[in-house]
Amino acid sequence: MTVETPVRFSPLAAWQDTLAQLPTGIRVRELPHLTQLTLRAEPGSTAVRAVAACLGVPLPGPVRAELSGDVEVLWMGPDEWLLVAPDGRADDLLARLRSAVGEEFATVTDVSAQRTTLALSGPLVRSVLAQGCAVDLDSRVTPAGSCPTTLLAQAPVTLVVHDDAPAPDVRLLVRASFAAYLAAWLVDACTEHR
């Protein structure tokens, strides 16, 4: 048996063509296979300081994302962060973080395949999301660097606002099993702008 790199499939692999045909004004594409780790640690603890030092960025507070480093840190709960890094970084990061934490009480779990990520950009993003998201996405209320975990239509999502200007650039993290539903919903929500 020859050793080949095993083939991977992302949850929205079959949706690429459909998403590519959305109306001008909104661009939606899947960012597959991102490294995602759940970090659980007590805020203010030695472990949190060690992780911050390891990542080179502070761990953000409620509903905020730290997007400046090569590992993005999303606040998910008072003692929970999601670390998002490019594809293939999981093993390395896990090792580094676990070593940084040492004997302190903090846990890191690889959840990379638990969610996939959709990148939405363009001037229509807010009005499309407003069809299913009750969080006020006005840039004064939910500025760049916000990451509310909420509902979009009937799917649980974490919504990360990367940029406001010139047009919104929003990432949606969605559980793999809901991804196809959410894609279908987004395509439907864009129908009017055809």
Partner: protein, 956 residues
């Protein structure tokens, strides 16, 4: 086409364009800007519907949403029941008919789109009349986020229907200027054709936008027909105006009888003359502008009957200038005419007595009984109301936080007053938000004539009063329900004292218009009848929606495939490609079975079972919930939540566990593996994954926050593939070259990390079938790759994919219960024959204390047993009841339990069932009976484990 009832120089309809429509089978024309009602009136059609109880002809009473009479059925472009002709915008090709009560639903599916949009603002203004526009403008100028909703296609509200000037020019010029300024504010959203219909908690206002209805058949299919706006507003200003009130008198329901203000609207907004010769009947000043404007447009005003003895000089002389006779202290006592009013009977009315009547010929009778502020939404918002005896109406009294009225909705009826009130309301709203409103210059209104107070008159005594059984029989209160003063009096005579009772007795206020024209009037008449104060009596409750809203609009886009999320595993595309049929399990689609061409479900399941018992088979188990439990106290937490001991589990090993509620009833089960000293991974049933995580978090966070444990859902990170059957070891060995699959190296209830098909995998040796079996877990991205590799490796062994049905049969042969199928919330682990999973060592765990209750100690609890029908071909229906006798006694028949699971077993070569049976364990060996179709089927009670009781296959 000749339209004799269009007034030249009046109205805002586009006379340059003609629209054709059909009403009651007759072709008509109208213009853009018309409503169906205005176009019909312009064509001289007044009789548009029939009363619901008595079938009497009915006309158009009003010009807006308060219309109680002119109910129509739309037939084209798509049938829609029960709209008011006064709110249907005219479009080319409209086909409609008048209704007498019941609308009709189309049998064809509605293909229109509907949607919902969330909006957020600092101030929401409802109503774009003078007060609403002034409020919006004032708020907009502070930079606040403002939403203005208005039900009409064109903002302006009452200004559309009046000739009052602003700044010395037509008021609509001011409206245009305001709209132009609002358009400059990026944070102001003006929604036309949008009706607020519900005020819910915390400033949530729902509004319905009719986006394409006015386009008729030309409506673009990709644009939503109607949209629900969910507006979260920090402050709400209800500038919803007021509804004019009719007066009860004999035969007050005839076509041609119209509210005075509405007639004014028909003239000024639509350029329609609703008649040629009119009588005006009023209790207040507001009917005079209507009379004068109609007179100036060419309607002969035959008489003004004003119930007040004193009519203000201003109006008296303006009428005199036009030759209009004003009869002070007079009322209309009744009318003549069938299809249309032909005569009004006018009589002096003083000291509660009617004088001599005389008839005045007319084809239009304008009525004004005063104005009721439109407080439905304010009241929904839990604003309180008080009765204002001066105007005979309920007006806002106490406003809840964040809500206020402006203009006529608050009882302010002059134009200048409304404008000022709008600005004041905006100021209050904004100051509640910590903003200050700059001085807002208001347009100058025309001179305000010196008026006189209104008189409150609910009903005119009938000349027929006093005759037996005739009191008020022809005086209609609720035109839509055909309820009369007589009905109200009968209700009070029956002993009813509450307006809510009277409403139910008479059905007043229960129809489409929600009693906009009848509600207060009813209170007034009841109060008179009972000799109490209207204030004391109150009015009926305002309930959402303020206007009818279509089911489809409320459903929005949550229909068809978007009705409820379809959750799928990473392997789903493979299942679809390979012909699986699916079972809904919660929101998940799970493969049910994989039929081959021509196979029935029974044949397919037998084949799949046989493969699992004799060869090798595989299934998609990815939907099982998976929760990572980590931390120094992980074992402690699991010991408290599972009935058995988990902390003693060794790293590398797997244990089955059951969770109970505090009531001791089984709520979930699954396997627990110990990943590391401080890390466990547990599985839950598919349907309970979210619930179990929440349950564990609840205990951890609220009861034992001191435990150092973290819970992380990893359900969808993993694809889980059970590989089952005597040949499973061989198949696994082919794809997991690094794994020593021997029984010694990899025994039952253990797990190992290895590489499967080149992918890092966790393989557990567990079995939900009783066979030698493995469970291969890989990150979901690699799911299909590994699945296909296993499938290919198993090809030599005729590997077979199987679904949930076969899974159920295999586990039932082994008496592994399915929580939710073999249990129903009343079953303990002991009842399931699983005392072995209930720790006797642990001092406590959730549910344990309940096992000691009286009911749990009974010997005759229902217990899980096997049932073998005497006839091995008889398949008992799941759910069948079990009785003790071969004869079915007369009901009620004592029942001993029921069949929870029942299958044909390929392995047993017969049918079998699991059942919960009273004292079941004690009855093993007994014959019981299952009533079916009037006879009984004998069954033998057995131990529930029917296949490989020793577990040799699984352990081998």
């Amino acid at each position: 086409m000749n339209t004799p009832f269009r007034a030249p120089g009046h109205g805002r309809v586009d006379r340059g364009t003609t629209l054709s429509f059909t009403f009651d089978g007759i072709a008509h024309t109208g213009h853009p800007g018309d409503t169906l009602a205005s176009a019909l009136l312009a064509d001289g059609v007044h009789h548009v519907a029939h009363g619901i109880r008595y079938g009497r002809p009915r006309g158009v009473l009003a010009a807006g949403a308060e219309e109680p009479n002119a109910l129509v059925q739309i037939e084209f472009p798509f049938p829609e029941p029960m709209l008011t002709a006064t709110t249907v915008e005219l479009y080319e090709g409209l086909v409609a008919r008048g209704l007498s009560g019941q609308g009709r639903l189309s049998g064809e599916p509605d293909t229109a789109r509907y949607d919902t949009v969330h909006a957020h603002c600092d101030v929401l203004v409802v109503g774009a009349g003078p007060a609403g526009l002034a409020a919006t403008l004032a708020a907009a100028r502070t930079g606040a986020r403002v939403v203005l909703v208005d039900e009409l296609p064109e903002p302006g509200g009452s200004l559309l229907g009046s000739q009052e000037p602003l700044d010395g020019a037509p008021a609509m010029e001011w409206v245009g200027a305001v709209l132009a300024e609002l358009a400059e504010h990026a944070d102001v959203r003006v929604l036309r054709r949008t009706t607020a219909f519900g005020h819910y908690d915390d400033g949530l206002v729902l509004a319905l936008e009719k986006r394409t209805d006015h386009l008729g058949a030309a409506a673009p299919a990709h644009v939503s027909r109607q949209r629900i706006w969910r507006i979260r507003s920090r402050q709400v200003v209800y500038a919803t105006g007021a509804y004019e009130r009719p007066i009860a008198f004999d035969n007050n329901d005839r076509p041609g009888i119209m509210l005075a203000g509405s007639a004014r609207t028909y003239l000024n907004r639509f350029g329609v003359l609703p008649g040629t010769r009119a009588v005006v009947f009023t209790t207040n000043d507001s009917a005079y502008p209507a009379a004068l404007e109609l007179a100036d447009a060419g309607v002969r005003i035959a008489a003004v009957a004003d119930v007040r003895e004193e009519v203000p000089e201003h109006w008296r002389s303006a009428c005199a200038e036009r030759g209009i006779a004003v009869r002070a202290g007079h009322v209309v006592t009744g009318t003549s005419g069938i299809e249309r009013v032909t005569r009004a009977h006018v009589a002096p009315f003083g000291a509660g007595r009617l004088g001599e009547r005389h008839g005045v010929d007319c084809d239009l009778l304008l009525v004004s009984g005063g104005w009721n502020p439109a407080v439905a939404l304010f009241s929904q918002a839990r604003g309180t109301l008080r009765y204002d005896a001066g105007i005979g109406a309920f007006v806002p009294a106490g406003a809840p936080g964040g809500v206020r009225t402006a203009g006529a909705a608050g009882g302010t009826f002059t134009l200048a007053g409304c404008l000022a009130d709008g600005v004041a309301a905006a100021g209050q709203a904004l100051s509640a938000l910590g903003r200050t409103v700059p001085e807002t210059a208001l347009p100058v209104t025309g001179p305000l004539p010196h008026g006189a107070p209104a008189r409150v008159l609910w009903r005119v005594p009938s000349p027929r009063d006093g005759r037996e059984d005739q009191d008020g029989t022809l005086q209609f209160v609720d035109l839509q329900r055909d309820a009369t003063v007589s009905d109200v009096l009968r209700a009070t005579g029956a002993g009813l004292r509450s307006v809510e009772h009277v409403k139910r007795y008479t059905t007043i206020g229960t129809a489409h218009d929600q009693g906009r024209t009848s509600g207060v009037m009813t209170s007034g008449i009841v109060a008179e009848a009972l000799g109490v104060d209207v204030a004391e009596l109150g009015t009926t409750r305002f309930r959402p929606p303020a206007v009818p809203v279509s089911f489809a609009a409320l459903a929005g886009r949550n229909r068809g495939e978007l009705f409820d999320p379809v959750r799928v595993t990473a392997l789903h595309p493979w299942h679809v490609e390979h012909g699986a049929l699916f079972e809904n399990v919660g929101q998940w689609k799970r493969p049910w079975y994989y039929p081959r061409a021509g196979e029935t479900i029974e044949e397919a399941v037998q084949r799949e079972c046989r493969a699992a018992r004799t060869g090798v088979a595989m299934m998609d188990g990815s939907t099982l919930g998976k929760i990572n439990v980590q931390g120094p106290d992980a074992g402690v937490l699991l010991d408290r939540l599972y009935t058995n001991l988990m902390s003693t589990l060794k790293v590398g090993r797997v244990r089955y566990g059951v969770m109970c509620g505090v009531d001791g009833m089984a709520i979930d089960d699954g396997t627990v593996i110990r990943v590391a000293e401080q890390e466990f991974l547990l599985t839950t049933t598919t349907g309970n994954a979210a619930r179990v995580l929440e349950w564990m978090e609840e205990w951890l966070q609220t009861e034992w926050p001191g435990l150092r444990v973290h819970l992380t859902s990893v359900t969808e990170h993993w694809v889980t593939i059970p590989l089952v059957g005597p040949r499973s070891r061989e198949v696994l060995a082919l794809v997991a070259p690094d794994l020593d699959v021997s029984n010694d190296a990899f025994p039952f209830m253990s797990w190992q990390d290895t590489t499967v098909a080149g992918v890092a995998a966790r393989v557990c040796r567990i079995s939900f079938s009783g066979e030698l079996a493995y469970e291969v877990n890989v990150p979901a991205w690699y799911g299909i790759t590994v699945w296909e590799a296993l499938h290919a490796a198993g090809d030599a062994f005729s590997i077979t994919t199987y679904g949930t049905e076969t899974m159920h049969v295999l586990r039932a042969e082994k008496a592994y219960p399915i929580i939710g199928q073999d249990t129903d919330g009343t079953v303990t682990p002991q009842d399931l024959g699983m005392s072995w999973v209930v720790s006797k060592k642990k001092p406590d765990f959730v549910g344990k204390r309940s096992f000691a209750r009286a009911e749990n100690l009974r010997e005759d609890r229902k217990q899980l047993v096997g049932l073998l029908p005497a006839d091995e071909h008889v398949l008992l229906p799941e759910g069948a009841q079990i009785i003790a006798t071969s004869d079915i006694p007369a009901p009620p028949v004592p029942m001993l339990g029921h069949v929870t699971s029942s299958y044909r077993s390929d392995a047993l070569r017969r049918t079998f069932a699991l059942a919960l049976v009273r004292s079941g364990t004690r009855r093993i060996g007994e014959t019981l009976y299952v009533p079916l179709d009037g006879r009984t089927v004998p069954v033998t009670v057995t131990d529930p484990v029917l296949f490989d009781k020793e577990g040799a296959r699984r352990d081998g």
